[in-house]
Amino acid sequence: MTPFLIADLWGELLAVLTTLFFALPYIAGYIAIILLTLLIWTGVKKVLRPVHDYTSLKTVTFGDESAVVSNSVASVVSVVLIFVFWAVFTGSSLLPSFLHAPGAFTGTGTFTYTVTTPDGRSDDAEVTVLVYPRDEEADAPDVDPGDGFAKNDSIAIAEYRSDLLRVDQNDEIGRDEDAVITAINGQEVAPGDTVRVDFGTVSLSGRGTPNISPSTGMQMEPIWLPSPEGVWSRLTEIATSGYRNSTLWEHLGYSLFRVIVGFTLGALVGIPLGYAMGLSDWFRGWFDPIVEFMRPVPPLALIPLVIIWAGIGEVGKIILLFLAALWIMAIGARSGVSGVKISKVHAAYSLGASKFQILRHVIIPNSLPEIFTAARVAMGVCWGTVVAAELVAAEKGAGMMIMVASKFQSTDIVIMGIILIGIIGFGIDMLMRAAERFLVPWKGKG
């Protein structure tokens, strides 16, 4: 088995590398644009506001961590560029149309084909292709059949689609009489070949039928990537009229509710557990194997088991999030306790503090910074886990929204959901950081 496995994996690796290779020019282009804005900004900055602060006098900045601060201009450029690329390749109305990537062909195009019969006669006929916008309907245009034994044809194809055309159906001598297409636009073809025409490509199928593929341009079809304003209008629509019998706020609120309840329960159990592990060797020995084993198990791997045991209701999800937060909080509290300087504890004892007073006035405040760090990590993990759990099974929730939308190929809802999930996750982290600054100002000052 093994040699086959290695060969398979090698094949997969090659496929990945090939994909990467084809993506390289685009990545290089992106980097070039970023570097260009950097260059322009450096020039503009020199002219607009020359800097004479301390950092500007440093000759060594490469490797000096304190000289590296996040450049807000680069951040703005980064975000704006994402939207620009998004707009360019979706033909968004946010950008003037001359900035759009070439779109799919619409309108009428023609090509000629040459049919040759077994006895050596040949004749040309013209095919008229009407490519109509995807949100309209159209019929094949009427064309004059023309002369000769091959008659002119016509077909209507929706934008981004391709179609086979049995051109010989109206011909006097067709495939049944072994007449075959030997040229398109005068270019010789055999079954399997592809010919470029004005509006796209025509290829001959294995049985000699032309397959007409009008050019799709470089813009994304909305089913792959909707335009920014499409996503925005879908957002306003769902915000006002809801989705799947629940309002947008219900979906997001349910996800947040699960995270907050699960995280709170996990912290309520995990922090005392961590303290016990940090203060007693018996507790440490008791829970170390459990905690150290459960910590590397991704909470997502527990979803099937939780569903089997607790079903797909709120209880199952909250158990899952409880477990996701529990180990992180326990380990955070444990290392918070272990991190207390022995001289602080000694000082407190020789100032007459009892064990309880030491816990209350020394160990707990000393561990708070670590606990906050753990809480930030746990909140992040819980948020990711709740979305994943809702992807699997849920009646309400942000994850459920994008899962159901993907089944109906409503890519705009999927993208809207991803953006909302990202914004909420970011917001949670910002809130935790603010709480940390407010509640443990002594962090890192010990």
Binding site: H346, Y349, P365, K445
Partner: protein
């Protein structure tokens, strides 16, 4: 009058990989109340171990420690401790740090306030009462540590290199403060230090300890601490005897270090 008696204290413990360490051997010493003693010695001579035994953080394997009639079995507010930096509670203000001992006893707010205000005045930090300790400089933090220890009215103050991390100038000022506090409060003070000068300045008695096993090597009775009270310490250092003693003790410790290094090479 409670004397601090160190009665034939030995300390020996097993190492995890086999073998044992004799950290202290037959150390005996009596400190009268109000005496100021400094302890010097090369690293590994057991001076910190001795201090930890006095504080009650470690139990000796033989012998006993008595403060007055009471035998020392664990930490107690009678024996206050001043550590090298980092033993303050950075989640509390300067005021709460100094008031920690009285708070633990459940002292009334008003009385505690008076004690704290007085002590911060003594160490010269009245303007910094409400500051967080991490906003203070290293020297100021050690003043807070001294005040915190004194707030508890201990009979004995144990100092584990309290000035070790300070710069030379701040250190000299703090040495003056320690002398002043010792004289004003009449507490028994034991000070561990690495600096021979500091040991000479801040010790009516000075013991030099030797390693392997940790023991008392020499003991001196010195006049410099009394001379230094209320005087410029630089004047004391210029004293002829001060220089002689310093040279003598330095070469003694130097020899011991050489011996240790020699032993390590063999």
């Amino acid at each position: 009058m409670s004397n601090l008696v160190i009665d034939d204290v030995s300390m020996r413990f097993d190492l995890p990989g086999g073998g044992a360490v004799q950290a202290l051997k037959n150390v005996s010493l009596t400190l009268k109340q109000g005496e100021l003693m400094s302890v010097l010695g090369p690293s590994g001579c057991g001076k910190t171990t001795l201090l930890n035994i006095l504080a009650g953080f470690l139990a000796p394997t033989e012998g006993k420690i008595k403060l007055g009639d009471k035998r020392v079995t664990g930490p107690s507010p009678e024996r206050g401790m001043v550590f090298q930096q980092g033993a303050l509670f950075e989640w509390m203000s300067v005021r709460d740090n100094v008031g920690f001992g009285p708070s633990m006893k459940g002292m009334a707010q008003k009385q505690k306030r008076e004690i704290v205000d007085h002590l911060l005045d003594v160490v010269g930090l009245s303007q910094f009462k409400e500051k967080a300790v991490y906003e203070l400089s290293g020297g100021m933090q050690q003043r807070v540590a001294l005040a915190r220890c004194l707030a508890n009215e201990p009979e004995v103050i144990l100092m584990d290199e309290p000035l070790g991390a300070l710069d030379a100038l701040t250190r000299e000022k703090m040495q003056g403060l320690v002398l002043k506090l010792w004289k004003e409060t009449g507490k028994t003070v034991i000070l561990i230090t690495h600096s021979v000068e500091e040991a000479l300045l801040l010790g009516e008695r000075l013991i030099v300890m030797a390693p392997r096993p940790g023991r008392i090597h020499r003991e001196y009775n010195l006049p410099f601490a009394d001379m230094g009270v209320g005087r410029d310490l630089r004047e004391v250092k210029k004293h002829e005897d001060f220089g002689k003693r310093r040279e003598e003790i330095l070469s003694m410790i130097w020899e011991m270090e050489e011996e240790i290094m020699g032993g390590a090479e063999q």
